[in-house]
């Protein structure tokens, strides 16, 4: 089989195509999914998760340390059980607080972790005990209006 000029062009085409794929994979996209091998899971329970979604970031001090792996409704406690997958490199004390926060006024919701002072660290399948629910705007407005009405009412 002879090498022809055609082979050269097709080779160039294939190389350019693969380079484009690599560009997309490395420069445009990123492996957002944390590897299951170097991560551990903890569960946090919330009474209200607001608009939190699966795959939402988990941040501590503003740095992404993990992702929300799973959200399910616990029918016995009537609470939301949120499974958080954290990077193995980061260890948190047992009394860490998990709060559902919003980035910006209308941005996506994420879980913020605030480390406590316990000397024991969270392990795989542990539970985060101290949690703070999402702020629901409607409740906030309701409370505000209620407070205003109380103020105006004659004593």
């Amino acid at each position: 089989m002879n090498k022809t000029i055609l082979d050269l062009w097709v080779g160039l085409f294939v190389i350019a195509g693969i380079a484009a794929l690599l560009f997309l994979a490395l420069k445009v996209g990123s492996m957002n999914t944390v590897n299951t091998t170097d991560s551990y899971e903890v569960v946090a329970r919330f009474e209200n998760i607001g608009g939190l979604k699966s795959r939402a970031p988990v941040k501590s001090a503003g740095v992404v340390v993990g992702r929300v792996a799973d959200i399910r409704f616990d029918n016995e406690a009537y609470e939301a059980a949120v499974t958080i997958r954290l990077d193995k490199r980061y260890a948190f004390p047992k009394d860490t607080t998990a709060t559902i926060m919003t980035s910006g006024l209308l941005g996506e919701q994420y879980i913020g972790l605030e480390a406590g002072g316990d000397s024991q660290k969270l392990k795989d399948k542990d539970r985060i005990l101290i949690t703070q629910d999402a702020v629901v705007l409607e409740n906030l407005i309701g409370q505000f209006l209620y407070g205003k009405a109380q103020e105006g009412a004659p004593q």
Partner: protein
């Protein structure tokens, strides 16, 4: 009066007969197309054993489509940059331009527009070539020499199209993102750092890029299969070949758009 009734019955009968004929014809064509597709898959051993044949076809359907794919990708990306900026600046979030350009290209526009261009550039050429080979009895001549035309002519073209399509779609997306970068960052002045970093944080490799590649492979299969079938099935006349070429472009474009909807519904349903 009975004359008119007779005439009416005659027209009605004709209409019903036509309908039945068309339905039967459609079913017959679907069956034949399925058998044809399976024959391609069965005979694709040749396309890989004599890979030179496939490479030759990749030159014609892939390399020669490069210019149109690259130029349209660049312009689509530039238009996305302009239009996206116009909309996003009303919400004060111009930095999200990178996300908009990258996600719309990688998820939808890259595979779909590249597939439509591929259908009209390469698909029509495949149909015309095979239809003409049939009209000039080259295919029958091959059969006379005990060379299976499906293995020698059809299968290499099929695999060449299936391999070329994802590469072309990736090139389309990449040049499109570059075009969006040119307009957004260089021309309008969106911050370069946040353009790329926001894009990176929003585009996921598995969910977005891999799904786009899967889409383009499916489109490649659909387009080349339709083009080859229409060429192989074309009536061996000048009129027949021209009709088959038109049908290829129409049918494969519709197939791409319909398949895109189905694939999108599967891939991005529960996502965020």
């Amino acid at each position: 009066m009975p004359m008119i009734l007779d005439w009416g019955a005659c027209v009605l009968r004709q209409a019903i007969e036509n309908l039945g004929n068309r339905t039967l014809e459609g079913v017959w064509r679907i069956g034949y197309a399925t058998r044809f597709f399976l024959a391609i898959l069965l005979h694709s051993g040749t396309a890989f054993r004599r890979f030179g044949l496939t490479i030759r076809e990749m030159y014609f359907s892939g390399v020669l489509s490069l210019i149109i794919i690259l130029v349209s990708g660049l312009f689509v990306g530039m238009v996305l940059g302009l239009q996206g900026y116009e909309t996003l600046q009303t919400y004060g979030s111009e930095e999200a331009l990178g996300i908009l350009v990258a996600l719309s290209l990688v998820r939808e526009l890259g595979p779909v527009v590249a597939a439509l261009l591929f259908a009209s550039r390469a698909g029509s050429a495949i149909t015309a070539e095979i239809g003409l080979m049939k009209a000039t009895e080259q295919l029958s001549a091959m059969e006379m020499m005990a060379v299976d035309p499906i293995a020698r002519v059809v299968a290499p073209r099929f695999w060449a199209g299936v391999i070329s399509m994802p590469l072309l779609a990736a090139l389309f997306s990449a040049t499109g993102i570059f075009g969006g970068y040119l307009v957004g960052v260089q021309l309008i002045g969106v911050d370069e750092g946040s353009f790329w970093s926001q894009m990176r944080s929003a585009v996921d490799f598995e969910q977005d890029i891999l799904n786009g590649v899967i889409k383009s492979v499916v489109f490649g299969v659909a387009i080349t299969a339709i083009a080859l079938y229409e060429g192989y099935d074309a009536p061996p006349t000048a009129e027949g070949v021209s009709g088959a070429t038109t049908r290829t472009v129409v049918a494969s474009s519709l197939a791409v758009l319909a398949l895109d909807f189905v694939l999108t519904a599967f891939m991005f349903r529960g996502l965020n």
